[in-house]
């Protein structure tokens, strides 16, 4: 039975929540920040054979500094394979080899649809965002998609302004109707307050666990849809000492993860 410590920050807890979704031998497509951190925690704890790739063309990189983009110079030397988008997004992702994808977005809705295109009307945008990049294909084709989001009414929505990346789209049966591969789709939404999972029938995100210090009521109020609560709702397991050791001694000695606190992950 692993022992816990209370001295951790939210981004560390969220990274651990991500890590716990990863199984040994998983092939994980990552971006930067959280996802890489989560996958690396898993690799150093319960999933030593998990491997990572970046959409830019990299498989099993061995960076000696934190990658600041998915095309970062540090991803080249030492990697097992360095090809291009066609290799990773086509030959690996589209061909069905990717088990886990991490995504985040400015807006995430109850069906796990993600918006990274525009806030407001597409043709008269209040704010124009970067666009899909690799998010849409990862959301469409990765077996299990893990979504990272801030838990507030700006970041979460009943319905996103623009579906850049498919979650369960309009709900049950939508992905199948469009011919998206079976057994794919969002698995979990990890926020700074809670872990939400998707109901097998309704495909709606429900509250699975609340982070230490948060309450069910608070989370329900902060969620812009009628958030169902799991019968077995419970407190999120805090980072174990081993998880924190890996984060702080192995992966992030300079505590760069703390920047996520400034971005609201508190």
């Amino acid at each position: 039975m692993s022992t816990h410590t209370s001295a951790y920050i939210k981004p560390e807890l969220m990274a651990c929540c991500g890590s716990r979704e990863i199984r040994d031998h998983d092939v994980v497509i990552v971006g930067t920040g959280f996802p890489t951190m989560s996958a690396n925690i898993a690799k150093h704890t319960h999933a030593p054979h998990a491997t990572m790739m970046q959409e830019s063309g990299v498989y099993d990189a061995r960076p000696t500094r934190p990658a600041l983009s998915v095309g970062d110079p540090c991803l080249n030397p030492g990697a097992a394979m360095v090809g291009g988008l066609i290799d990773v997004m086509g030959m690996f992702l589209q061909a069905g080899w990717v088990d886990v994808g991490f995504l985040s977005g400015s807006q995430v809705d109850k069906f796990g649809n993600i918006n990274t295109t525009v806030i407001g009307d597409y043709h008269a945008p209040a704010s124009r965002l970067p666009g899909s990049g690799g998010a849409n294909p990862i959301g469409a084709l990765a077996r299990r998609v893990l979504i990272i989001a801030l838990h507030d009414k700006r970041s979460l929505a009943e319905r996103v302004d623009f579906i850049t990346t498919p979650g369960y789209l309009d709900g049950p049966g939508s992905r199948e109707r469009w011919g998206l591969p079976p057994d794919t789709g969002p698995q979990v939404i990890i926020t700074n307050k809670a872990v939400m999972r998707f109901d097998d029938k309704t495909k709606e995100a429900y509250l699975a666990s609340y982070h230490p210090g948060c309450t069910v009521d608070e989370i329900v109020k902060l969620t812009p849809w009628d958030l169902k609560v799991a019968p077995d709702v419970h407190e999120t397991e805090p980072p174990t000492q081993e998880e924190l050791r890996v984060i702080r001694e192995v992966l992030d000695p300079h505590r760069m993860i703390a920047v996520y606190e400034k971005r609201g992950y508190v």
């Binding site: 959409e55 830019s56 063309g57 990299v58 600041l68 983009s69 998915v70 095309g71 970062d72 110079p73 991803l75 080249n76 030397p77 360095v82 090809g83 291009g84 988008l85 066609i86 290799d87 997004m89 086509g90 992702l93 589209q94 649809n113 295109t117 597409y122 945008p125 704010s127 124009r128 965002l129 970067p130 666009g131 899909s132 990049g133 690799g134 998010a135 849409n136 294909p137 469409a140 084709l141 623009f162 579906i163 850049t164 990346t165 498919p166 789209l169 939508s174 992905r175 109707r177 469009w178 011919g179 998206l180 591969p181």
Partner: protein, 311 residues
């Protein structure tokens, strides 16, 4: 037959106003020297494309060179949203560009289809999302849904892209244009080969014999190449594996400058209009930030093991 020329001549002769231009470089190897020369020559009405665009595309948009953008994503990476792009879309400054949106799967597939002489290619992403609902200058031809004639399942087809010219930056090429690259490829090989002709910007021109020592590194054959430009440091502030690192500090300089129209204009005056070519650019960089900073960007040595093709 040597095709070696200056970047000025390459852009002047091969990137006419209104051209459809593929610009290689996914974080890795952006052809920045060519981007600056396009701005310097004030090219107009370009259609530009690449998967994951960044500051290089933002500069072209801010400088008013762009009419249309076949996009998957554009940001300043670490430094957030692309300022000029947002100003163009949100405020029409300097003008509103037309954007056709795809993804980092579908666009590379469309470039591969162009390179392979395929009229279109099936893709498994995009379906069911609002990317199907919006289209711009490609209109009805942005994609087509069909029922597979093999199993009746719905399939999205996207059209092949055939740029008029591709501009790429690679590690090395010979005088004739045989271009060799290593490290993160993005969609560079396919975008280059999809184009009617290619401008090859490279860190160093090598002999045909050097190319022949390792021909499986070649991504573009000479017969597709219209111009070869030896442009060391040509991807700065981006990086080139084996040559120099990303200049994150300069990325911050660009973010700050591009926060305002005036700041962006001043940036162009200092780093583009005010400088004749990449040599002047590099000298200005060294004078402004110091040779020690320039040296700090230069890559360490970590040689691969040689291989042999002999029999």
């Amino acid at each position: 037959m040597s095709k070696v020329m200056s970047m000025q001549a390459a852009i002047r002769d091969h990137v006419p106003d209104g051209a459809f231009v593929f610009m290689g470089g996914y974080v890795c190897r952006p052809p920045f020297s060519a981007v600056h020369e396009i701005v310097r020559q004030q090219k107009k009405d370009l259609t530009i494309t690449r998967s994951n665009a960044a500051d290089d595309f933002d500069i072209l948009i801010g400088a008013g060179c762009v009419k249309r953008f076949i996009s998957t994503f554009i940001s300043l990476g670490l430094y957030g949203l692309a300022r000029c792009y947002r100003r163009s879309i949100e405020k029409g400054i300097p003008h509103t560009i037309e954007v056709e949106e795809y993804t980092n799967l579908s666009l590379p597939m469309m470039l591969m289809a162009g390179a392979m002489g395929m009229p279109f290619v099936p893709v498994k992403d995009m379906v069911g999302t609002d990317l199907m609902r919006v289209s711009s200058f490609m209109g009805e031809d942005k994609f087509k849904m069909i029922d597979s004639p093999f199993d009746g399942r719905p399939v999205m087809l996207v059209p092949a892209l055939k740029p008029d010219v591709a501009v790429i930056h690679v590690q090395q090429a010979d005088e004739d244009g045989n271009a060799q690259m290593w490290g993160i490829a993005g969609d560079c090989k396919w975008g280059a080969n999809a184009a009617a002709k290619v401008i090859v910007s490279c860190e160093r021109i090598v002999s045909r014999e050097t190319i022949g020592k390792d021909p499986s590194r070649t991504i573009v054959p000479a017969f597709k190449v219209a111009g070869v430009v030896e442009e060391p440091f040509g991807a700065h502030p981006g990086y080139t594996p084996g040559f120099y690192d990303t200049d994150f500090g300069f990325g911050y300089v660009y973010q700050q400058a591009s926060n305002t129209v005036e700041g962006f204009q001043a940036f162009l005056d200092e780093w583009v209009y005010g400088l004749a070519d990449r040599t002047a650019y590099t000298q200005h960089y060294i004078q402004k930030f110091g040779f020690s900073q320039y040296k700090k960007l230069q890559a360490a040595f970590d040689w691969s093991y040689p291989v042999s093709y002999a029999y």
